[in-house]
Amino acid sequence: MLLQLDGVTKHFGGIAAVRNVGFEADEGKVLALIGPNGAGKTTLFNLITGALEPDQGVIALKGQTIKGLKPFQLAAGGVTRTFQNLQIFNSMTVLENVMAGAYLRGKKGFLRSLFSYHGWCKEEKMIREKSLVLLEETGLAETAGRPASTLPFGQKRLVEIARALASDPCLLLLDEPAAGLNSEESAVLTNYINKLRDRGTTMILIEHDMETVMNAADKIIVLNFGEVIAQGTPAEIQAHPEVIKAYLGEDEKIA
């Protein structure tokens, strides 16, 4: 098992944003995290990536607690994410964004970078090639040289995913990747997520769109007011009375 949460709690002031949450994410599987606005989904990502520390509980990656590790250390351990409110490197080109994401694949530090002639650097060439492959895959190849700020919203989301993948993560966290996309963009994205899943990338996906979730996820965790109210396979969740009540309202049905 890749990731394990046990009794994880996080308060902001008096509010418990995450309360006694426990679940497991298995290697090669897609876990979906759903729940209404403010349920604590993004906070969970912040906890898993080390951006926040839990007040209580244990988070373990590959059987080892991540307590005290910073986000950059967890990234080195294979955990990367995308952001709900895009965090693109705007003034850099699309290719540079992805190459920056491949930071961990290189080794040259400050001094060695100063002294090794940039045109001859093998590491640089390797990173560039791998990044171009990712751009090809995400359909961004044509935009490689453009400043990332000039891309439409949907493509920016793809840049974030490509950037996150550039470090070869063992666990990819996607925070509402389809939010704000039109149906066409959203279809491209869902397609890509399914492709990643088929390739065996372990993902935790926060997503509001039920169709995407039901199609992509192996397991679903439902959060409400910071608590896990249900977890199970898509079929189990669809039939779960608590979920229908809390998440969708009494009278709605899941498609």
């Binding site: 951006a51 950059f72 650097c121």
Partner: protein, 320 residues
Amino acid sequence: MRIKKYSGLLIALLLLAIPLIAQSNYVYGLFIVVGLYTIIVQGLGILMGYAGQVSFGHAAFFGLGGYTAAILTTRFSWSPLPALLAAVFLPAVIAAVIGRQTLKLRELYLALATLGFGILVSIVFAEGGELTGGPSGISGIPHFQIGSLSFDSDGSFFLLIWLLVVMLMIGIKNLIHSRTGRALCAIRESEYAAENAGIDCSRLKLQAFIFSALLAGMAGGLYAFYVSFISPSPFSFHASVQFVLMAVIGGLGTFWGPLIGAMVVVLLSEVLKEVIPLIIPNAGGEYQIIIYGMILVILMIYQPQGLSSLRNRISLRGLK
């Protein structure tokens, strides 16, 4: 295409030929100062334009380099080369100490800390008694010398400085086009995302800060050897602001920016010093400062990206 790519290099080479043709000590002197400031602003440019941090204390590192070289050669009879190495080393160590505490915090903490540090250091220079020579400073600093190679003429010192500038600029070009350069940019754009890509932001910012302090120290040491006399005044807070200004005016995050910024600011104040008395007879120094300030404000309004972005516009119009 090719001309555009190399136009900066061509212009720079032409400019550097001027002093060699003029063979005047005044022109050499101007270019030496521009070169020394370029070294400082290159470092500051990495810190500000790439790592996104501001320092208002670089005149202090400049001064620490100068005083280290001066004190070691005059009071302890070190030879110039080891004294210069010490002038590089000491500011780097101090920057490491300051940066370690402040760079963990975001935004403006470094700017505040360096501001305070700069003021503190200038007081130490002025009140340092025997060691720093107080307000009257230290004189009798020897010429720079490596073994038997002595840089005692302005011409030879000019060549030394610009050799260093060129080497530094090659290094910086390498840095910018490396994973470290990209990581620095990433920090400036979004620390969250940078950390998430595995970049240790506080460590890298610290390295950029140390690098910039070290360069300022080197420039300070070389400056001391060049003028052979130092006092606290060139290392005041005012000078720190000048350096920031040069970095901004040249264009942050650009390759040619630091060189252009240093050159424009030095030449501008030099030209004003000559021209203003011709236009306004018996004008005091304050006119110079006012007009200088006005020009800088106008530059910042009409060319907020810095002067180096002018190049793209001109070459787009002219060469396309």
